[in-house]
Subunit: 320 residues, 2 copies
């Protein structure tokens, strides 16, 4: 382990299936962005890490005081050992790689990596809508459904691999099968693509031809707001399934709050009204009366900001 | 708050729907038992607390060095305020009562109360199968399905009322309705009574007349062991539903272990073999390979021992 500089300025990486964003961050602020890297342009994990290192080395020329590096990765991470098992959306990344070791050697700075949803949760907890809460669940609704959980003022990490993989939890013990054989995985119902496919089917059943692309969540939102009752019902069904997850987490954890971000969360009251009604129907009254479901504070930059905040705390030797 | 004596000898109460057990405990040991009190003999919560106080006062004559009192209650507890909201199985206890305040005044000892399943989990964590684990989930299978969760070396308590109410979590977003309107509550499928009712239906569907009483779990176990394929299938279906809960908690928390106690857990490999097979099918491989599902160490005394251990830690001023 190299000597650690302390400070809040860090390098942060938001690793996506399409592009890799790299920036210099300080607290909740982005100071400088590097050019994004096209994820699919590289033919191996080592080539990806090489390109990231080159980009970060350039940023370090102008920010030699950066204290560490944080990475949010859309896959299964062993936080404690700094290993990434696999990246679902990056086909060439199909076996585990010691990301921390490689990048620490390349850049001579402490490196921390975590699941991207954990990074978003970290941003909301440290600087966003859940600031200072003892027990917190963050959900992000997009292509997948990601989660991050804080318990007893610490981010939950699990024993050896990403936890809070809430998209893989089941809402039906004999339901649709997820990527690991997990029956009823909620992502198979309310992931963006699955939601759009179900929507196209609902229109078809009503004799209306609409492609899956025409059923993207933001288009359904427009339709519902224009009075389309099928679209309204689709958000209602979505809310029913999301309520099942939030109910389960409430009976299990009774957190101080749920924070919800990601694209579908933009649907506003189309989603949140039926969600609240369903939770009122299904929760123990004391739970419901103290339940807080809050919109996320950070938008598209939540992941990179969270990765930067993590890197600063890690370089500072703080437990988190 | 009265001055606290420190020590490990305590009074402990296991409050059941049928009888109230009271004992003097020391660590994981029961030193002396009082006569059990018949729960239904009292016409109000105050009368119940009066009878418990009288019994405990007698025990204190022979054990004046007891450091505190711990109570496990089968209902919704606010651990931090020492309040019991309601007891599902005790009709006269239908509104919240400040149990801690009343008993501390009566007996002049520090009082701690918690949900009975939390007490069982505490016993397993402090002195049983999960001793010293950082993250642990305990399940108890009986009339209901109770749970207790340890995270980051602390029992999870929630914000204001019992958490780890795992019997109320859903395994089907549109399934059987639980006591709080919660759709798909797992207790409605694998609680002892529901399991027996489903078993009687399965026999009836096969043209075999068997009463619900004849379908109690221990009788189904005998039947399965004697080669009855319907009974074997019933345990398989039970395991499928339990696997859904354990899978959800694994994807959410990745605990060090699950500990399973209660009557149905006695079914042994009839339950645990299909349970393991189902989890292998449905979990991310890294999760499955490190998954530990362990039988509980304590039997019927788990609750009273856990209540005693809690009382000792509470009287000792330890956070837990």
């Amino acid at each position: 382990m190299m000597a650690m500089k302390t400070g809040t300025k860090t390098l942060a990486v938001d690793f996506g299936g399409t592009s890799i964003k790299i920036a210099v961050t300080d607290g909740g602020t982005i100071l400088q962005r590097a050019a994004t890297l096209p994820t699919a342009a590289y033919d191996s994990p080592r080539a990806i890490m090489k390109a990231m290192s080159t980009s970060m080395r350039e940023l370090l020329h102008s920010h030699p005081d950066a204290a560490g590096i944080g990475l949010g990765m859309p896959g299964w991470v062993d936080f404690y050992r700094g290993i990434l098992y696999q990246l679902t959306n990056v086909p060439v990344w199909n076996k585990q790689e010691p990301v921390r070791e490689i990048l620490e050697q390349e850049l001579q700075l402490p490196v921390v990596l975590d699941n991207d949803a954990n990074c978003m949760a970290y941003a909301e907890w440290k600087a966003g809508a859940g600031m200072g809460m003892e027990n917190l669940v963050c959900l992000t609704l997009g292509t997948g459904l990601g989660g991050g959980i804080i318990i007893h003022n610490r981010m939950l990490r699990g024993k050896n691999v990403s936890c809070a993989e809430l998209g893989q939890t089941s809402i039906h013990y004999a339901g649709r099968v997820g990527p690991f054989g997990n029956r009823g995985a909620i992502e198979e119902y309310i992931g963006n693509n699955e939601f759009a496919r179900d929507a196209a089917k609902a229109y078809a059943a009503a004799g209306i031809s609409r492609s899956v692309a025409e059923c993207a969540p933001h288009l359904l939102k427009k339709a519902a707001e224009a009075g389309d009752s099928i679209a309204t019902q689709l958000f209602h069904d979505f809310a029913e399934k999301l309520a099942c997850l939030i109910m389960n987490l409430t009976y299990t954890l009774v957190p101080d709050a749920f924070i919800i971000g990601g694209g579908v969360a933009q649907a506003g009251k189309l989603l949140f009204e039926p969600l609240t009604a369903s939770l009122r129907e299904q929760l123990f009254p004391v739970h419901f009366s103290s339940l807080q479901v809050l919109p996320a504070h950070f938008g598209a930059d939540a992941g990179i900001i969270g990765a930067g905040l993590m890197a600063a705390d890690y370089a500072d030797g703080k437990l988190f």
